[in-house]
């Protein structure tokens, strides 16, 4: 188990050594190739992941259209929450957009971590952070133009990662047609 997870957890909580010893035990490494699926809509999300390296996107199918909900960069933790919690079919897909290194635990192993106060505190803070992030995104999508939302994205993510995201995924993430995003890009590069 990589030290990166320890460092990541310590950004949120104080982590007693004995807790870390329990946490590190079960995580198992899995590498995904570019464009490979980590989870397919309709399948059960069996794992909770620590995301060490790479680039992923969350998306779903709406009336036959592929809509990107979000991108994530490492280090982070993720799962498909409702599907993982209830072991029910996922309402979203997760895909590696670049070679991606993950560490995973299954539902049973996760339940053992829920006995640790440090883990529960970490998860509460992580969930709050994600919720705030989504609320801000919703607010920004209301108050800013597509152009401003795109430049915000450029400011937040490393340029070399942004270049690896296909235009169509960026466009559906921003809620605009690919042609509109092309126009915005051309205008900004001029």
């Amino acid at each position: 188990m990589p030290e990166q997870l320890k460092t990541f957890l310590q950004k949120y909580v104080e982590l007693p050594d004995e807790d870390w010893e329990k946490i590190r035990q079960d995580f198992e490494k899995q590498v995904f190739k570019k464009d490979e699926f980590i989870l397919e809509e309709g399948k059960i999300c069996r794992y909770f992941y620590f995301f060490e390296k790479g680039l992923i996107r969350f998306f779903l199918n709406v009336d036959g259209e592929d809509v990107t909900k979000n991108f994530a960069i490492a280090p982070y933790c993720f799962t498909s929450k409702v599907s993982f919690r209830n072991q029910s079919p996922a309402k979203e897909s997760i895909q590696a957009l670049d070679e991606t290194v993950l560490w995973k635990i299954d539902r049973q192993q996760y339940k053992k971590l829920e006995e640790l106060e440090s883990w529960n505190m970490f998860m509460r803070k992580l969930i709050n952070e994600i919720q705030e992030f989504i609320e801000n995104r919703l607010l920004e999508s209301k108050i800013y133009t597509a152009e401003k939302n795109y430049t915000n994205l450029l400011d937040r993510y490393p340029a070399e990662l942004m270049q690896r995201i296909p235009l169509k995924h960026l466009a559906s993430f921003l809620g605009v047609a690919p042609q509109s995003l092309s126009r915005i890009r051309n205008k900004l590069h001029r």
Copy 2:
């Protein structure tokens, strides 16, 4: 304390009688008039509320503009989460748009409820529900036109409540100019 809160809690969790006896003890009624502020941006949110009756909106000031984040109808529970948890200045305002009946507990009283497993389970489910709601709103704002988002809103909220929301608040909630929403309304009523 009204039975409505009990009924509301029971929609989410099994509620042992002894837990309900503890929960009901501290809630105190407060009535807000139309347009009155329940919380002002920059002030500390001192209460967690059960919302028995009325209509409220959450909004904030962005570069001098009043932007509506959300509307809520009863019965529901709410607070300004970060502000209430940390007793720090709120980044949003909450306003009654109609005569509104609330029941409130302060941070100390709330902490007592956190000793109840039923309460913690209720809060986890409520927070999950709100998070799913926000995620869906974000998704809808991406994939649908303003007109479709408006008709969705009409489908979800009682018509007589919708009529009490000023056009400008509906417009900023939908992320469109008031003139655009007027045009959409005229088109739909034709």
